[in-house]
């Protein structure tokens, strides 16, 4: 039986899922093919739009987007696409996220004790806002080496935050194995089989000195996070928040779950297989992508395609000693011929490699080295698109939302 859809999205991160949902909204039939777990679990779960421009911390990202260089993905899609992407995000995530009440960036404490600018933040992190002047107690667990609460507190003081902050380390109830995964803490609190929530609250009460806010590493449950926070808050008589951390990221997993629900509700079919080839009509249009299944290459036909395979981390952009390439549709990726020009010597210098990606036109269609459209019916979204260092400027999810929404909508409209 032939597999045939209006739109085929390749890639299952925020950009791909957003593109699939946007395309489905136009009435198109949509299939999403993704080769692996989403990189969402690697991300903090914060939704950055634009935190820095010209290395300056900015409070209003929308204001700054207008001044970005022409090759920046935001400049390609325009500021309205950013707003559309965020609106879609707010609809999908509902109560799970905050920040939509203002266009101003929020500053949130990091697990290292710095602060970072972001546009949307998990509800679980909301009470941790650095511009809130109420006192904070940070609580770490002695078996969890990723978050050292006393050090983070001292660091926040060094950053001159406008509130008093103190750190304390407690042992997590049930003394998890010394090298337990982060998800073990979350599951223990989710299941609460041995009253872990109450016992944790009891241990924190002993170090709590009445601070209005109490922050924990982001391990407060995967499924029942709101109930866990509420239980801790009631017991401590304080607002409770999570400090987002590195992989594996519970807020990232919760966000992934929300998107998966949205995909199900929108009737998008999801195929968890690698794409390993494509075919064209010989006239510049893609007709199918091949999906590998048990050694066979199954053609997945569509009228429009969206490439959202991620950047260097998601392996949407690949490289070897000879060069940098886009492995699925072999789109052009500009890069210096000498690999010693892919980086600069300062770790936080102006690195070229984070900007590697395909070059798109204003309609997000990848262009080849000569500037011609690679395929009439292919658009790209997310960090496979080059031109932005999303880590340095804190813009990652925002770019995925804006380009995903724009690419998916355009792909869907083309087929209707």
């Amino acid at each position: 039986m032939a597999i045939e859809d209006d739109v085929l999205v390749v890639g299952g991160g925020v950009a791909g899922m957003t593109a699939a949902l946007a395309a489905a909204d136009t009435g198109a039939s949509v299939r999403l093919v993704t080769k692996s777990q989403s990189t969402l679990r690697h991300a903090s779960g914060l939704v950055d739009v634009l935190g820095y421009a010209d290395e300056e911390l900015i409070a209003d990202p929308f204001d700054a987007i207008a001044d970005l260089p022409a090759d920046h993905p935001y400049a390609k899609v325009g500021v309205e696409a950013v707003r559309n992407g965020l609106e879609r995000f707010d609809t999908i995530t509902g109560d799970l996220y905050r920040g939509g009440h203002t266009e101003t960036n929020a500053l949130l404490p990091t697990h290292g004790g710095a602060v970072k600018p972001t546009a949307r933040y998990p509800a679980s992190a909301a009470a941790g806002l650095a511009s809130d002047e109420r006192d904070v107690l940070l609580v770490g667990f002695e078996t969890l080496s990723d978050f050292d609460a006393p050090l983070a507190a001292d660091h926040l003081r060094a950053a001159d935050v406008p509130f008093d902050v103190r750190g304390a380390t407690v042992s997590f109830p049930g003394t998890p194995r010394a090298d337990a995964k982060i998800t073990r803490y979350a599951h223990a609190l989710d299941e609460d089989d041995d009253d872990e929530r109450e016992r944790l609250a009891g241990r924190v009460e002993r170090v709590h000195e009445g601070e209005a806010r109490v922050g924990f590493p982001a391990v407060l449950g995967e499924s029942h996070h709101a109930a866990i926070r509420a239980a801790l808050a009631d017991a401590l008589d304080a607002d409770v928040f999570e400090v987002p951390m590195g992989p594996p990221s519970l807020p990232g997993m919760r966000l992934e779950a929300a998107y998966e629900r949205a995909l199900r509700d929108a009737g998008v079919s999801v195929v968890r297989r690698p794409v390993d080839g494509y075919e064209t009509d010989g006239d510049g249009r893609l007709t199918a992508a091949f999906v590998e299944r048990n050694g066979q290459h199954i053609p997945h036909h569509a009228d429009a395609f969206v490439l959202a395979t991620g950047g260097l981390v998601g392996e949407g952009i690949d490289s070897d000693r000879g060069g940098v390439h886009e492995p699925v549709f072999d789109c052009h990726v500009p890069h210096p011929a000498d690999r010693y020009e892919w980086f600069v010597d300062e770790p936080f210098g102006d690195q070229p490699y984070p900007r590697f990606g395909v070059v798109v036109d204003d309609d997000l269609r990848p262009r080849d080295a000569a500037g011609s459209i690679e395929f009439e019916n292919l658009r790209a979204a997310g960090s496979v698109v080059g031109g932005a260092d999303f880590a340095a400027e804190c813009s990652g999810t925002g770019v995925s939302l804006a380009t995903g929404d724009a690419a998916g909508t355009a792909a869907g409209n083309d087929t209707q």
Binding site: P117, D132, Y353
Partner: protein, 576 residues
């Protein structure tokens, strides 16, 4: 104000650490100064080969005999630093049969156990050897951890009353009436373990005798007293693979040449090397062609190296020396032998002896030789016992099973901890409860990191060398901030931050030479973690920026109910 010691040893590489141990064990009051951390120079920048002597069995049989002798000694006294991998000299079809036979005969002449293997037998031992490898000679090469070795020597010296000062740079020699009587030392922080952010002090150390064991830097020390110590530093690249493609040392069986050795080392393999004379041991080009050369050439022996992941490259400088007037052009032809330069005899400047040349495998023998020389000058008659007494950590087999049981660690973590710590396993692991893993790539626990911090202070690169934390695939991407956190609260937040920044810079330096394929992906992930999730690059504390806090969202105006009670539980979420 000056301090006194009988002997001042300059240089904390293998030679200096060997000398300070030997002198201390003979009852001499000795101080060692090193401008970086221990092994900062050449010792910490080599491929970790414990020579069987096979490498020199044709060209330099005297060195070959010394190597096999010391190889046996180190297996006895430094068991916890040595991995008995064995080694192969591998012959490809285009390599000379005549040379293969010479190598075999040379090994036999020098009492190096040597066994000829057919290509099939060699591949049975190392399955990734190229299918057209014809035959091989098996010899008792091994892998040695130079960091652990030097630290063990230094610890033993301290246990016998020696003073060890790292981050203590010699800025001048003290010369009185034509005699060297000591040196001026600039401490990077206070005396003892390093403390970031603590201003240093200058100290004159007076000594009856000075030993210049500064290796490739020995010429610079000599310059302070207008002595000509003509060390000819020669650089070589070492490229680190992310896994062990071979478990045996693999050498190419041909006369000499670049890119002819693969040394398995802990979780990695190290490919080496190149050989080019440089003017300055600290400032020389680290070239792309060198990395390409070792990968491409060694792929002829082990083809999967061509596509394998490298995690970084580093360079070291050999402290080659030849007596004035020898005039060898090609650095690969300069002898690997060592020389004792008594400046009283040679230059009519008493008070100092320089030791130059040599190699790690024979460090103990070199140390014994110069210690004999110094003791003769001082009139000390004690005998050398360093060939017989095990180093700290190697006194008895670390009880791996017991450690695993007692400390409830996953077995690979405990096994690796025990391999690193040897007979100190119980003591170190018992010091910390609970004992979570800090570096998951290398399985390094908090107890080991704390033990290393006690020795090295806030120098996280020294902690790294002692524990291997941050030396795996992620190159500190996920654990660097955790290592820094272990400094706190013993050391303050600012020190921990400075130490983290220094470690990150050091890790990046080597990764730059491995930025393609999976390691470029890793670099991007690290960039995202450090630059976005942790936002270390935009951190107000680091960038010294004043934030206008009230220009940002403070939560006011959010139409949500109270923040803690809402936020949509996600039933049916999955993942682990």
């Amino acid at each position: 104000m000056g301090t006194r010691t009988e002997v001042l040893v300059i240089g904390g590489g293998s030679t200096g650490c060997g000398v300070v141990r030997d002198l201390a064990r003979r009852g001499v009051d000795v101080t060692l100064v090193e401008k970086g951390n221990l092994t900062n120079g050449t010792t910490g920048r080599m491929h970790g080969l414990l020579h069987s002597g096979g490498r020199y069995a044709v060209s330099d049989q005297a060195s070959a005999r010394e190597c096999i002798e010391e190889n046996r000694v180190l297996r006895d006294i430094a068991g916890h630093c040595v991995e008995e991998t064995g080694g192969l000299f591998v012959k490809r079809p285009e390599d000379s049969e005549e040379y293969f036979q010479e190598k075999l005969q040379g090994c036999r002449d020098c009492d190096i156990p040597a066994e000829v293997l057919t290509g099939e037998e060699a591949r049975a031992r190392e399955p990734y050897l190229a299918h057209d490898v014809e035959k091989a000679i098996a010899v008792p090469d091994a892998a040695i951890d130079p960091f652990r070795l030097c630290v063990a020597n230094a610890v033993d010296a301290e246990n016998h009353g020696a003073r060890i000062e790292t981050h203590a740079e010699v800025t001048d020699l003290l010369v009185e009436s034509g005699e060297i009587v000591g040196a001026t030392i600039q401490h990077a922080s206070g005396k003892g373990p390093r403390e970031h952010g603590t201003p240093g002090e200058e100290e004159d150390i007076y000594a009856d005798h000075v030993v210049n064991a500064a290796g490739a830097w020995a010429g610079r020390i000599g310059d302070f007293a207008d002595l000509d110590v003509a060390v000819r530093p020669s650089k070589g690249v070492m490229t680190v693979m992310n896994t062990r493609q071979v478990d045996t040392v693999v050498n190419r069986c041909r006369p000499k040449g670049d890119a002819d050795i693969i040394v398995p080392h802990e979780t990695a393999c190290i490919l080496g090397t190149t050989d080019e004379e440089v003017g300055d041991p600290e400032d020389y080009p680290e070239d792309e062609w060198e990395v390409d050369l070792v990968i491409d050439t060694l792929s002829e022996l082990v083809p999967i190296l061509q596509e394998a992941r490298t995690i970084r490259s580093f360079w070291g400088v050999r402290p080659l020396y030849e007596p004035p007037g020898t005039g060898t052009q090609d650095p690969t032809d300069i002898t690997r032998d060592y020389f004792t330069l008594d400046h009283a005899e040679r230059d009519d400047v008493p008070g100092m002896t320089s030791i130059v040349g040599g190699k790690l495998t024979t460090y103990r023998m070199m140390a014994e030789s110069i210690t004999d020389h110094v003791c003769e000058k001082l009139g000390v008659e004690a005998e050398c016992d360093t060939a017989d007494v095990p180093l700290p950590g190697s006194e008895r087999e670390g009880d791996i099973e017991a450690a695993m049981e007692r400390f409830g660690l996953r077995s690979p973590v405990a096994r690796r901890s025990a391999q690193r710590l040897g007979s100190r396993t119980e003591d170190v692991l018992a010091s910390c409860e609970p004992n979570p893993v800090v570096c998951s790539c290398e399985g390094v626990t908090r107890a080991e990191v704390q033990d290393a911090i006690e020795q090295a202070g806030t120098d996280l690169n020294a902690v790294r060398l002692r524990t291997r934390a941050s030396m795996g695939n992620c190159q500190g991407g996920r654990c660097a901030h955790r290592m820094a956190a272990e400094l706190h609260p013993e050391h303050d937040e600012e020190s921990a931050r400075a130490a983290l920044d220094e470690l990150r810079a050091e890790r990046w330096k080597g990764q730059r030479h491995a930025l393609w394929g999976e390691q470029l992906s890793q670099a991007m992930l690290n960039h995202a973690l450090h630059g976005a999730t942790l936002n270390e690059d935009g951190d107000p504390a680091r960038t010294d920026t004043t934030v206008e806090w009230d220009a940002f969202d403070d939560g006011a105006g959010a139409d949500a109910e109270d923040t803690h009670a809402t936020g949509g539980d996600t039933e049916g979420a999955h993942g682990d």
